[in-house]
């Protein structure tokens, strides 16, 4: 996979992009995590780990601003996320379990619709992105005729054109074949090298040197660096 969007290194930054202070989340009368504090620095890949039900998905959704019902502080570039929601949303890309692909539309139309609210991207770039995820020749086939893995790749094509510095990727490796996983690993690494920050949950073993780990567990939270 080859990224289409190459950022120019104008703004040099070393302060944390996203900072969580004392996050606590309770669900159905059960505390998922408490006193969870961490910083996401530019140029890092962080893997959120933990057994099923430890709150990995919930954490990512909280960071993305989808879930309410938590307490603590979330800061974007040093200021509260709540006060600059639109700026934050413009700089954050979230891919969830459900990737946001309409089965009635073609990969091309899906990608175009997903980018429509973010930044103008030419169709040429979009089709290059689709080719980059191995969907060459499928650009104009309705997504419902594609396999689960191919549909997932449509969503991943977004990563090839994304300019958001922060990526929150929830179980993106699901239904992706071995080659795809390798390519995606390379992509994440490349993104980190460009200065982007990636937070990822997965049950795959990732072979990424220098990867950070954020471990959620029933017995409490450890933040390993």
């Amino acid at each position: 996979m080859q990224r289409m969007h190459r950022p120019d290194f104008g703004a040099l930054m070393s302060e944390p992009l996203l900072q969580a202070v004392n996050l606590q989340c309770e669900r159905d009368q059960r505390i998922l995590f408490r006193e969870l504090s961490f910083s996401i620095l530019p140029g890092t890949v962080t893997r959120v780990e933990g057994p099923n039900g430890s709150g990995k998905t919930t954490l990512l959704r909280i960071l993305a601003g989808l879930n309410h019902g938590w307490s603590g502080e979330l800061n974007w570039c040093g200021a509260s996320v709540a006060g600059q929601r639109e700026v934050f949303l413009r700089n954050m890309l979230y891919l969830g379990h459900r990737p946001g692909i309409k089965s009635l539309l073609t990969p091309m139309e899906n990608l175009r619709a997903l980018m429509a609210g973010r930044r103008p991207v030419s169709d040429v770039t979009l089709s290059q992105a689709l080719q980059g995820t191995g969907l060459a020749g499928y650009e104009n086939v309705p997504c419902r005729n594609l396999s689960a893995g191919q549909q997932r790749r449509v969503a991943l094509a977004r990563l090839l054109v994304a300019d958001e510095p922060l990526w929150l990727l929830d179980e993106v490796f699901t239904a992706i074949d071995a080659d795809g996983v390798k390519a995606l690993e390379a992509l994440l690494q490349q993104r980190a090298a460009e200065g982007g920050a990636v937070l990822v949950t997965t049950h795959h073993d990732l072979a990424l040197p220098g990867m950070h780990r954020l471990v959620l567990g029933a017995g409490g939270v450890t933040d390993e660096r």
């Binding site: 703004a11 530019p42 140029g43 429509a116 220098g210």
Partner: protein, 241 residues
């Protein structure tokens, strides 16, 4: 970590304008709807069938139909819109499109306004277009049919807008369809009253300008307030996921 200097990243620039984003949402909904044309026809068929039930179930007499016709058509239109509301957010919710919509950097209520407009174009507008035919079938006179079409033209967007609140509130719940009707029907009552009342006034020869203006005020109120409520409701419903 490697010992290199911290890498640099540039923050993303300003996002697409609100209008362009709304257009994107609208265009996608229209495109999806036209890929699944059967779903577009269903509320229309339902509309026709409900109207058919009244002459069969109550009386085919011209005098009855002429008096009740506007009410029958309004109730049938209301029910058809109600029937279609369940789909307004459901598919988007199931495939994750809704999450992406909420995470777009533009104000959510405007994006919802775009979605609701698409919903109206796909359900309300066809109902209005079909109304003259059914109006003739229930023996309404020409003037009444014209006024009825006007009230539906102003009223059905209100139905879609208020309905969007209900659809957002019941998103992802069991038996959402029935619950949606329970929540929304009481809120539809004023529109129904003024819709049919205007036609009745026209039939008695009164001028209807004031009534239509009042319905226009309803529409303005719904356009300005309903998307906010629907956006708040949508965020709450998504928070469960």
């Amino acid at each position: 970590m490697n010992a290199k200097a911290p890498p640099a990243v540039q923050l993303a620039g300003s996002s697409v304008g609100v209008l362009a984003a709304m257009k994107g949402v609208f265009a996608r909904d229209m495109k999806v709807a036209f890929r699944q044309r059967q779903d577009l026809l269903n509320p229309l068929l339902f509309f026709i069938m409900v109207v058919t039930l009244f002459p069969l179930g109550v009386s085919p007499e011209v005098s009855f139909l002429r008096e009740a016709g506007a009410g029958i058509l309004w109730v049938a239109a209301l029910l058809s819109v109600l029937l279609s509301l369940d789909h307004l957010f459901r598919h988007d919710f199931d495939d994750g499109t809704l999450e992406q919509l909420v995470l777009q950097p533009q104000p959510l209520f405007l994006l919802i306004l775009a979605k609701t407009m698409a919903h109206w174009m796909l359900t309300g507008l066809p109902l209005v277009i079909l109304t003259p035919v059914l109006g003739v079938m229930v023996h309404l006179d020409g003037n009444s049919i014209a006024v009825l079409c006007l009230t539906l033209l102003i009223g059905t967007p209100v139905l879609s807008l208020i309905g969007a609140i209900g659809a957002a509130l019941t998103l992802g719940l069991r038996s959402a369809g029935v619950l949606l009707s329970l929540l929304i029907i009481p809120l539809y009552i004023p529109v129904l009253i003024f819709g049919t009342g205007t036609v009745a006034a026209a039939a008695e020869g009164a001028t209807v300008g004031a009534y239509l203006a009042l319905m226009g005020a309803f529409l303005m109120l719904a356009v300005t307030l309903a998307p906010f409520a629907a956006a708040a409701a949508l965020k709450i419903s998504l928070s469960n996921g």
